[in-house]
Symmetry: C4
Subunit: 209 residues, 4 copies
């Protein structure tokens, strides 16, 4: 089983999820003179939209790097990948919840739990892959996954703190979600793919060319 | 007519169906203190969502394997494939119905009938393909389709029992749906592609490599 | 400008339109004892869904054949193609209208007008292509477009009659829409691609191989 | 990191956005005798739909040309591209707003601001690309970006005037939006890709062949 359709299908899911997010911002039916106030009331939904757009974009970038190393796909990889996509596909629901009830604890908790579970399934895909060299273009470097673990532990611990803060300091939760996301995106932009560095030795020369 | 656009189009349909499923889980407009209760009331819809996500993911994996054997696509194949995709595309409707009326007989029946019809059109695609060696990379092994039949008969018989149980024991119907789905996914993960084994002799060495 | 992204984009649009159609079949909020009656009331929408699924599937098959002949894409082709996709993308609207008001004249008229306009833009794409041999793998055979014209005239004349019947005999309109669609699909399945036969001489040997 | 998945993902986003636009045209529940009036009331939404379909189609054509020059994708390119796609993905919202409140100032302003921001992120992608020859098939010609600037300045200045007119002369705003869009599409169709001419010297011979 080659990987092309797995990539095409995954790209489709990411593209659809990221685009469906906007459908949650519904325009209320108000008389014209109340339009400005109604639009101001949508600001939390717009911020939730931007955050989730970046979250899905980030997972897509990670998926891109993981799939880049893969040569063949087996049944386990397919279903681990589907589990990852399941939690990515769920994103419009916690996003919509957060946009509508921005200062309630429950939506903040659900949003954070979804992020943690998505991270864990994404990590599971990478751990499985590292143990199946027959599926890869070249074996994952020794210790690459071990180096991944502290990053995942830190990120998920911060999300755990954000979840805990939901009941006492919602703005702290948002600061943590936005901060971790910004940190991840900056790492991604800086082109220091530490999260996958050990597993992609072949791409470094190409990127340096 | 080559098969690339058939695959791209089918992947698109599968990716969209699997992602649209989440749109059926609508957040009710409730005051903040009623939010927890409103979210608990969504649990049946969430379970229906997960089941249908796995169903669509499974059909995608089967489609992937079928298409892998195909070299050329003719008019009949195109329309049999479209019929298969039609019943896959319908999935959000019975899923939504099941999530909203989880213990009524009718939604359980409609869900099961849709599964049976989707299976039959998928089988029709494979039977047609086996009889058109000119469309394939290599001919389907003698008896491959004959070996498929008992699996399809068993699966659809179990769905038939689940449909019959809808009026007397809805939980029995769910156990059967979930059980058959789990059995199919486990077979898929275990990499013993019995359902298509005879028809894909060329891929066995690659998978064993 | 190569044609690959034009195909990928068009496939995406067709796949999304064909899958979005199901979203128009909304489940009414009724008490459990009224569910059967509510589902029976959805039958016209289900029939409209199946018809439009086949319509979009048919246009996809035609698009597939047209794009198969193309090697390069220029600005005019891109925008003619976008005009074609515009009227395909509109399909969920007249479908939904037809499903909700099945025996009113106006929805039948709008549905028919959309079919006629989609046909005409599709024909425009083919006429333009035939006059731009530099965009094609091999020149369109002399007279190929001339042979297309009577088919398009017949189909659109039948749609015109169906539109006229909307006010006096709605069932006659439906019979014509379904009849023409069945005729087109049967031609497509029989593998006698008369509509494009002259324009695809190169594919006949391949299909016969 | 190769560019194929960036293209596949971007094509998916463009295809979904352009197709989702139709979902905003909702059919009101009216008695049959009020249907004609209800449909006439949808005319502004239909016009907004056509305009946004052309806008998204135009950005897709520009994206196509930009991506055509790219060989490799780095982290910065990925996130600039995601920012561009973010503002393209937002389109269904201002389109829906414009269709429902066509003569209010605020929707016209929001629509225009979204166009300006989308243009600026698209320009940022091209400026970044021109400075990273290692990502390109061949270096961007000297002065190509400098020649882009007056076009972007003119377009965005016209949009700025349209935004200013929203409070005093809404029809003037529409005339400017439609006029600029028509001008851009005509330039695109005429095949004089001035906007990217300097950056795509390699494609001119191919197009002339």
């Amino acid at each position: 089983m080659n990987k092309q359709r797995m990539e095409a299908f995954s790209d489709g899911v990411f593209a659809i999820v990221i685009t469906l997010l906007i459908l949650d911002i519904r325009i209320p039916s108000v008389p014209a003179e109340g339009l400005a106030a109604a639009l101001v009331a949508l600001v939390p939904q717009c911020l939730a939209y931007v955050m989730s757009f970046c979250v899905v974009g980030f997972y897509w970038a990670v998926h891109h790097r993981v799939a880049h190393q893969v040569k063949l796909v087996d049944g386990t990889f397919t279903w681990l990948n589907l589990a990852w996509l399941l939690f990515v596909s769920v994103m419009p629901f916690p996003t919509s919840l957060l946009g509508r009830y921005p200062l309630q604890a429950l939506p903040i908790v659900i949003y954070g739990v979804n992020l943690v579970v998505t991270n864990l399934t994404g990590l599971a895909v990478q751990v499985y892959m590292a143990r199946q060299p027959r599926l890869l273009h070249e074996p994952v470097a020794r210790g690459a996954i071990a180096r991944l673990v502290p990053i995942y532990v830190t990120v998920n611990a911060l999300y755990g703190v954000a979840i805990g803060l939901a009941w006492v300091l919602p703005w702290g939760s948002y600061a943590l979600y936005a901060g971790v996301l910004t940190w991840m995106i900056v790492r991604n932009i800086l082109g220091r793919p530490r999260m996958e560095e050990g597993t992609q030795p072949g791409t470094t020369p190409a990127a340096a060319a």
